[in-house]
Structure formats: C-alpha cells, structure tokens
Amino acid sequence: MSSAHSSASGQPASFVSRLNLQQYVVYLGFLAIFLFFAIVLRDSGFLTVRNLSNIMLQTAPVTIMAIGLVFVMSAGEIDLSIGSTVAVSALAAAVTVNDYGLAAGVVVGIGAGLLIGLLNGVLVAYVKLPSFLVTLATLGLFAGVSRSMTNLRSIPVTDSSFTGFFGSGSFLGVPSLIWWTVVAVVCGHIIYRETRFGAHVLATGDNSRAASVSGISVPRIRLAVLMISGGLAGLAGLLYAGRLQAAKYTLGETDLMTVIAAVIVGGTLLNGGKGTIIGALVGSLMMGMLNNGLILMGLSVSDQMIVRGLIILAAVAVSLREKSR
C-alpha cells in the first residue's frame, strides 16, 4: 500500500507512507464502513436522516469521553475509570437536580467526575503509581459506589430544564447533544493543538524527562489530564441522564472499550506524544455507526461486542506498527 503511494507521488517513501497511514486511516475507515452499511443496509433505513442523526446523538457521550482520553493518552497515561465515573456522575446529578434544580445538579455531576479525576491524578502524579492500575482500581471502586448510591435503583430525572439542556432540547434547530459535541470538540481541539498546556501534555507523553528538564511540571500535567478526563466523563454522565431522563448504575458500563477504540482508531498513540481530537471525533462517530449498523443488520449484542473487539485489535496493530518504525 505504502509503496503504491510513494511511487505515485515521487516523494521519499517513508515520509509519504507515514503521513498517509497515520493521518488518514480513520477517515478511510469511516468512509469504508459508511459505504459498506449504505450498500448492505440500503433497505433497512440506515441512510435515513433520522437514523444518521440518531447515530450522532447516541455518540455524543462517547465523543466527550474520547476527548478527555486523548489528553490522558497523549500524556502517556490511561484512564479506565471513566467507565464507572459516568454512572456516579449521572446518579449524583439526578439525585441533586430533582431536589435542588439544574445548576446544583450540573455542579454535583461534573464535580463528582472532577473528584474522581483528582483522586486518580494524585495517585498517579504524586504517589507515582501507574495509571493503568490506579484507574483499573477506581473503575471497580466507583462501579461499586454507583451501585450502592441508590441500591441499584434507577433515578428518574424530572427537571425539564435539565433534560432539555442535556438531552432532548435544541437550540437554533440543532439538538443540544450536538451542541455539546461541537463545543467540546472545538474547545478540546484548540486547547490540545494551540495552547502551551496542549504542547506540554504532548511533551510529557513523548519524553517526560525532556519535559521535566525543560521546566514543565510533569506531575501537574498528569494530574490535569486525569481531571479533564474525569470532568468530561462527568459531563457524559449528564448527557446520558438528560437524554434518558433517568440515571442508573449501568450507564457508561460498556462505553470504556468504545471510547478507547475511538481514540486509538482516531490516530492517538497508546504510548503518548501524539494524538488528535478531530480523529477521536471521527473515531467515535465510526464506532457509533458501527454499533448502529450492526444492530440494523440484526447482530446480537454478543456478536456486536466481538466485531468491536476485532476492530480494536486491528487499530492497536496499526498504532503499534507505526510506533515501532
């Protein structure tokens, strides 16, 4: 594949193949899956506006979490705890919003995410434990917390301003979930690409010693990315609670794998130092499309999981192949 490209353009092979493979694989994959479903499912309603906009709405929480994970992975860390942070935040917000209104619900919901991020961050950055183990532990810990918070009960969200703001509402004709996605992607992209903080995140993940001797506070970066991830997982929880008008401990349970897949497929390296927010957006849309298409094709939940798992494997293979060059 790469040799075909290089002979066509006449530029040095290594340069061209690297650019193509790393940067465009997600777009090509997105297109390929889209075309595949568009053809195979042309009679099943895949291409209807309603179905496509449904994919966008369902993808919003995953995209928001993926943005946080791009920061975390670019800094050379991982955050597995987002899988249970979503439910904790959604439940905390649901309980609060019913009694104290929208603002309190938002503060408590996002605050819960930030606090989990703070806990992860302190353990990783200052106690110097590996983020994989820390967030694996907090994933389990907060899965338990979310179950005990309401004794496995589902909490309905009755506040209509909350469900409008985070779920069914729209602004200028565009659904609020799309607004949240756009705002998060644009802000995330600017912070990641155009600020000193973003540059320091990349430097930390690329070569933490170099970052450190250059005056970058590596622990502070590690703390910050995990708090961003926790806060955004909290926001994802609010979006779930708003859209479903209820919160339950199962929210976000199956998202962890989807989010990681979206980020890696999007072109963010597992080991840090390189990533993209836009790629993560396309990656999560691709995952959403995949879920949607597989359901329309009539695959069972277990088959869907298998296919998604295989796609993650393929993505990791491409990612690591690039890294070892």
Binding site: A203, N207, V213, G215, G273
Partner: protein
Amino acid sequence: MNANVSAAAEPVLKLKDIRKTFGGVTAIENFSLEVRPGEIVALVGDNGAGKSTLIKIISGVYTPTSGTITIENQTVAMSNATMARAHGIEVVYQDLALADQQTVYMNMFLGREPVNRFGLLDRRRMISETETLVKELDVRIPSAHATIRDLSGGQRQGVAIARATHWASKLILLDEPTAALGVAETAKVEEIVESLKSRNIGVLIISHSLDQVFKLSDRICVLRRGKQIGIRETAKTDKNEIIAMITGLQQH
C-alpha cells in the same frame, strides 16, 4: 587565540571552593573554576571522577554542600534546573532531552513556548526563530517542521545545541556531545561548538575524547576522584600531561 579577549572579560561563571557530599561520601571537594565569555573549557576525568556531579551543581539540580557559584558577579543559590536556566545557563544533556515525536521548532521552545495575545501558541514566531538559528549554526535539517525522530543523530545533536544556544545568555554545558555520533557527524558538531565562541557565551564541555578536547578547548580542567587536579591552557600542555593528570600516574 582569543586568550587576550577572554582574560580581559569578566567570567560568566565562577565556582569557588565547591564541595558536595552525599551522606558521608565526598563527591566533589574544593573545586574552583572560572569560565569567561567566548571561552571553551573542557572538563575531563575518568569515570566516577565527579564530572556528572559537577554538571548537576552548575545546572541547579544539586545544591553544593559548601562553596559559592557566581554568575556575572552575582552570587546565586540554585535549587532546580529552572533557576539555572533563568540565570542564562543551558545544558545539552547526553540523552539530548528531545521529544522525539514533536517538531524541531516545538523542541526548540519546549517549556518556553511563546503565545500571542489570545494565549495561543505563536507558531510563526517559533518557526522563524528556529529557521534563523538553524541557518546561523549551519545545522542541516530538512525544515523546522521536521519531526525529531526523522533526523539523524548528528542533526538531533545539532538541534539540542541550537536550543541551548537560543536560550543561553551566559553559559552552555555540553555533556559528551559526540559520544553517540559517527566521524562525519562528530566533525559537524565540533564545528558548531566552535562557532559558539563568536557568540560571547562560555562553554563548558565534558568529553572523553582527548582529540576533541585539544581541538576545541581553550583550557582543560582535570578531575580525579572528586578532586581538582589542575587547570591547563590547552596551548601550553599536551596529551601526555593531561593523561597523567587524569590517571594520577605522573611519569616525569
């Protein structure tokens, strides 16, 4: 060659009676050295002689147990590398401390990125300053946009030295700048180091290659087991004397 110039100018760095102990172990004792602007001083000694400890003291990583560090007539107390950089001292580490997957210009400004009035990275400025400096120092890289991992060892070393040159107002510390390089690349890096003289900053170079030391330095300072054995003007000594000083086997 420029000994007259150097002698007239005030030293950029003055170390006086530096002593460093770790617990009961003395790593450096009674070390004194002056580096003048436009001067290249070589620090030589066998493994374990205390060169690394000394670098860490000058770069602010270690605080000396006793003794004074004077930078342009100002006695300073440094407790971290950031403070040393604020005093105009830059270090080119043996591992270069480059972020491999970032561009040359991002590495040039690592940790000190300029921003515009919106608080966003001023890439245009980083790129143009990088291109200017790289041209001045004749570091031959494809472009300021090149990614570090696509560069050769010599080019990387060139980038690391260019970065230090860009930020150092007083002194550059070079730790084994050519240890990992081939013959042609070594010659190129030596050329770059030599060109630093005209920038009126002091250079302290650590090298295991005596050929290189004699080629580049104005003075040579010898360390052995934490003790300062002596300082010689490069023009007035020879390899045999320096080797004798390093090994402690005087054969007169």
